[in-house]
Symmetry: C2
Subunit: 244 residues, 2 copies
């Protein structure tokens, strides 16, 4: 009975049993192979092992299929970010680092979803549900920024929204320039995750949220330094994250 849930493979009867799911998976697979603009409705049908007319029972057109992928992506994204943030435990600094890594991790491991979400040029105006899902995902980032900012003395707090937008921008920039390892991208002298982590750390130092650790406890000069953030621990450089 499990074959009825498989998108491909096993024999199936006249009815597919789970075509909608299969089409979504087909879209994900095809986006992974050829980019969000590189596949067609007919392709998805073929990939799902079904005739070209079948998808019309489930999606009005190709855009609706992609929008569905993007929607699922945002839901997964929100969950991944929320899990990484974990309400700021054990402390906001550490949790924020995790958040940044989770962002990139999602972009990398769920590349096709990420593409559908941010590169497919879906008209948000026509998909209010999609916009809401995106806003919810961004809300996690924003909530984290608010928490972080609240650690600062009242007079020096930057707008949390701005901080969230900066982090989002840098994460998205890193992800889209270097995140996916498809052939055409540029080579990096370091893993994208570390690049982002270092960037976020420098940024947070700029806000005064993290000590510049100028006390130089050790040789490691800064958030950069190749071995800086490798140990499986969390975020060694930059000293204590407490910033009480």
């Amino acid at each position: 009975m499990s074959w009825s849930k498989d998108g491909r493979g096993g024999p199936r009867g006249y009815h597919h049993g789970n075509l909608k799911e299969a089409l979504v998976r087909a879209a994900v697979e095809l986006i992974a192979q050829k980019g969000p603009a590189g596949f067609t409705f007919a392709d998805a049908a073929r990939w799902a092992g079904v005739s070209a007319a079948a998808p019309y029972r489930h999606f009005r057109d190709r855009d609706e299929l992609i929008a569905d992928v993007a929607l699922r992506g945002f839901v997964m994204f929100e969950a991944a970010l929320a899990k990484a943030w974990d309400e700021g435990r054990p402390d906001p600094g550490v949790a924020f680092e995790r958040l940044g890594r989770a962002y990139l991790d999602f972009a990398r491991t769920e590349g096709p979803y990420y593409s559908a979400m941010f590169e497919a040029a879906i008209p948000l105006d026509a998909n209010p549900g999609l916009r809401e899902a995106g806003d919810r995902a961004f809300g996690v980032l924003r909530g984290a920024a608010e928490r972080l900012v609240s650690l600062m003395p009242t007079g020096q707090r930057p707008p949390a929204m701005m901080v969230a937008l900066h982090i989002w921008s840098m994460a998205h920039g890193v992800a889209s320039l270097f995140g996916r390892s498809d052939g055409g991208r540029r080579a990096l002298p370091m893993p994208a995750e570390d690049l982002l982590e270092a960037g976020v750390l420098v940024y947070l130092q700029g806000l005064g949220l993290v000590r510049p650790h100028k006390a130089k406890d050790e040789p490691p000069p800064g958030p950069w330094s190749p071995g800086g953030a490798k140990p499986p621990g969390s975020v060694p450089p930059a000293g204590s994250r407490r910033t009480s």
Copy 2:
């Protein structure tokens, strides 16, 4: 007279006279309208007012046309960045700010080129010239970062390459998330330019390169603070591309 150089309009004889240029402009126009994946070779021919077979005399296929647009874009981009940087005059901090603004300005005013350069998924491996042009443009950014970094005491210098990549990432992130005001994007509480400027400033502060708001605003708080740089007419919709 001039009609032989026009892409459209005026009467022309059997020979177009400048079809290659006209095709490039057509591509730019079509990318502006429908995105880098949203136009076809035949479209470009139609737009230029020639038959569908004519473009083959000038470009092997659609990809070569887009690559040409991207190549020109990189050249323009490099020039714009170099001009903004102006070899670090009057001082590297100020010049770096200009550089960031020039980046966003390019992304906004030359949106189609920017799309061709960064969102068209052109295989760089097959276009060495394109890669070189891109590297040259990035070289401006990197050179500026090197200059900036050289202001720091020797022991604390972060790798210039990393700094350049961070700035690039943030600029690209801002540009691609909020830069173009096409219908589907998200609204921002501030102009994208200011968002980027503030982000870069915070980042540079994090490096210790800029003292909290040295020559920026008068009010004390920081790079944010809504009075920063907002002449009222700074963000026109920019819907129609000039290019004609």
